[in-house]
Amino acid sequence: MSEITFDQIKAFQEQLAHHPAAAARSRAVQNVGPQAASREAIDGEDMKPVFSLDLDTGSVANQKKSGRCWLFATLNTVRHGIADEFGLKDFEFSQNYNAFFDRLEKANLFYENILASADKPLDDREVATYLSGPDQDGGHYDQAAALIEKYGLVPKSVMPETYNSNKTAELNSVLNEKLRKDAKVLRTLKQQHASDDAIAAKKRELLSVVYRILAYTFGNPPTTFDFEYRDDKKQYHRDTGLTPQTFFKKYVKWHFDDYIVVASDPEPSKKYQQLYTIKAANTVVERHPLTILNLPPERLEQLALAQLQAGEGVWFGNDVLADMDRKSGTLKGGLFNYNDLFDVDFHVDKTDRIVTTEAEMSHAMTFTGADVVDGKVTKWKVENSWGKDNGHDGYFVADASWFDQYVYEVVVRKSLLTEAEQAALQTTPINLPVWDFLN
């Protein structure tokens, strides 16, 4: 091991003293921080919210202090049908309804994962990963699809937000405490070779308490309801005796099976034209498994554009925390010019960012437009779920370089894929560990 010596420190200090404009740079960084000191322009022509292709969408939603972006982005994508056909432009689904069943299903998945790994020690990497976050807000597209296919959808008015759905920290802490305690109960039963019936009965008992906790925090999910509304032309409508499933069928008409998650993960351990899954992350056990088709980077852009041209929004997973200015709604590659400020080359290519876990799929949003100049997309219109006080009434602008670097997956119609790509969908997916980047 080589330690830092005082001679070295002296050399570093001398180098620093000779660095051009060191004192001025230093003052800027110490007073305002590296981001404000190095930010490029955000209000230039290149980031103007004007798009050659711009879908007609409603006002943005607000996930508040919760990690439900993936759910919001999915509901934003599917609501376009109801907006057009039924004249309900600003219609919102109940995110709370889906969140209720999401958390219940995640508790069930956690129990199943704990039972399946009960023969491994507690500090095994797989077991430790399950225990580190038994039941959180986060999710992905297939998870939303599975939930909606199983439980349907309801209008926001039927199951509105509560204190806890808007601010999930307290619930998360209570629920995870309970699930970790239950993990011990289930592992012990399994290790004592309890019968399958005894384990099933215990699991049902534990899950019933989870149901109670969720009912107290999110409210009771409705089973039948009446839907009353005035459309954009002020016409009154009343539709009675709906269930969440019939409401979904009648008003949304969305076929999740027509879509596929396309990622571009260039890690050497992964192949293009290859289908992947992560079995331990399939929230709704035995439904709509997580399925990802890995394709070369240029396909992400081509497919997203083709789908927008066909008039449909595009769900996408990304690292919103990189090169983002929240207030102005700017997503611009190289927004913070740290290289200039520190005179250090911070550039890391996408592969290295993924393998070193620098890259993070931190957010999901929806593309609802693109500016195509001379056949090339120069910027994308992004529908976010952080309320309308950020960006342009809640919409963000992403430039082409940001898309290249920080968009990791898009959800597209299978019919837009080439024949070879469609053929890949018929193959058996490779199962990845829970800690893979694609999860």
Binding site: M1, L104, L131, S173, R180, K181, T357
Partner: protein, 448 residues
């Protein structure tokens, strides 16, 4: 039930819910106000009245703001208590930014060394993945601060004040971790290409020079010489010239850091009591002091904290502050939220189960500055926090004795209070402690 949740399961859950006493009333309260507010227990507020039979004389609390430097603040607080008393400078603070600078610089080097050590393991191996997940962070341990002070000394806050980046560390951490991960790729490649030791060392030196520059821009230049000027509590003026951080430490703090020992209470099966432990890949100064924890049962552990407080010395301690706590009121009490009553279910876990199942770990360091002893038994503890004076009682918190049992994991004790047989354990095992895995909960304070 089957693996899948069926509709008959859902019907059963609904029936169970309807059969729960008071369900509809409780549901409304929780939906409108959240869990904590609904379950908060007034009895706890009464029991946690801030009166203590043993209470040290301390000054105004410090504020770590939006950074994870609690361990540093807590340690510097224990040291400033002596300065405040001996030199009569009541609200005196030591520079947390000075130790922060050297900590981040040393952690960068420590990271490079660990990357080189694990370069033969694949990127997705658990150890390499752990290392890359957080190349460096704000967190740390008592022994890590000792290592910094032994090498770099300490300075008054006025000599190296806080900056934007020390108060709000997320931008700097994001940037430095990006840089360190990039460097990790380079170093691993050099090893894979069988580069000579000299070439690897030269590459590392270049990286460290850049890290030094980044830190100097963000946190300022650490002083090497300075004058210390102050008025004491009796309004007398003093000036002490030509001090170095090392001479300042010797003169104004004067501790022999070898006299202090980290004691833990980790009652899990993998850690027998009365032995010394360290945590792999946990540290900062390569070649400096390493982490050593002596694991003791809770009664001995607690008696030592009381002994030190009775002797008039404050106690650095590590805990899981997020559990059963009301930040605004400054209460840490296992009785503060009656969750079991609210949800009609038993949430109880033992301390060992919580550690084994990842439900609890060390998240925060603070200082014990008092204890209330009634009929020979401790009932509550006075806690000096570093979250400013707007929370708790002017920044001081009250912890119940049961909370102490359940969620306090570490105290730092002057060795002179330890019985001879424990002093012998430290001597005998210091060179070869039991090594815990990098992700052990006893290392958590320094890895997040």
């Amino acid at each position: 039930m089957s693996a899948e949740i069926t509709s008959s399961d859902l019907d059963q859950f609904k029936q169970d819910l309807q059969a729960t006493p008071g369900a509809t009333a409780l549901q409304k309260a929780v939906m409108n106000n959240g869990i904590n507010t609904t379950a908060e227990n007034t009895d706890s507020k009464v029991a946690m009245t801030p009166t203590f039979s043993i209470e040290l004389e301390t000054g105004a609390v410090a504020n770590q703001k939006q950074s994870g430097r609690c361990w540093m603040f807590a340690a510097l607080n224990t040291m400033r208590h002596g300065i405040q008393a001996q030199f009569k400078i009541k609200d005196f603070e030591l520079s947390q930014n000075y130790t922060n600078f050297w900590d981040k610089f040393e952690k960068s080097n420590y990271f490079y060394e660990n990357v080189l050590k694990t370069a033969d393991q694949p990127l997705d191996s658990r150890k390499v993945a752990f290392l890359l997940a957080t190349p460096q962070q704000d967190g740390g341990q008592w022994d890590m601060l000792s290592a910094l002070i032994e090498k770099y000394g300490i300075v008054p806050k006025s000599v190296m004040p806080e900056t934007y980046n020390s108060n709000k560390s997320n931008e700097l951490n994001g940037l430095l971790n990006l840089k360190l991960r990039k460097d990790a790729v380079k170093l691993r490649k050099l090893v894979a290409d069988k580069a000579s030791d000299a070439d690897i060392e030269a590459a590392k030196q270049k990286m460290l020079a850049e890290d030094y520059r980044i830190l100097a821009y963000a946190l300022g230049n650490p002083p090497t010489k300075f004058d210390f000027e102050y008025r004491d509590d009796d309004k007398n003026y003093h000036i002490d010239r030509e001090l170095t951080p090392q001479t300042f430490f010797k003169k104004y703090v004067g501790w022999n850091l070898d006299d202090y020992q980290s004691i833990i209470n980790a009652p899990t099966a993998d850690k027998p009591y009365n032995h010394l432990y360290t945590v792999e890949m946990l540290g900062n100064v390569v070649g400096g002091r390493e982490v050593r924890h002596l694991n003791l049962d809770i009664d001995t552990f607690k008696a030592l904290a009381i002994k030190q407080l009775k002797a008039g010395e404050s106690v650095w301690f590590g805990s899981d502050v997020g559990q059963s706590s009301d930040r605004q009121l400054g209460i840490l009490d296992t009785n503060i939220y009656k969750k079991d009553d609210l949800f009609n279910t038993d949430f109880t876990m033992t301390k060992a189960e919580r550690l084994d199942y990842g439900e609890s770990l060390m998240t925060h360091a603070m200082v014990l500055t008092g204890v209330d002893i009634v009929d020979g038994k401790p009932t509550k503890w006075k806690v000096e926090n570093s979250w400013g004076d707007k929370v708790g009682e002017k920044g001081y918190f009250v912890a119940s004795d049961d909370w102490f049992d359940q969620f306090v994991y570490q105290v730092v004790i002057s060795k002179k209070y330890l019985p001879t047989e424990l002093q012998d354990v430290i001597k005998n095992e210091y060179a070869k402690p039991t090594v815990l895995a990098p992700w052990d909960p006893m290392g958590a304070l320094a890895s997040r």
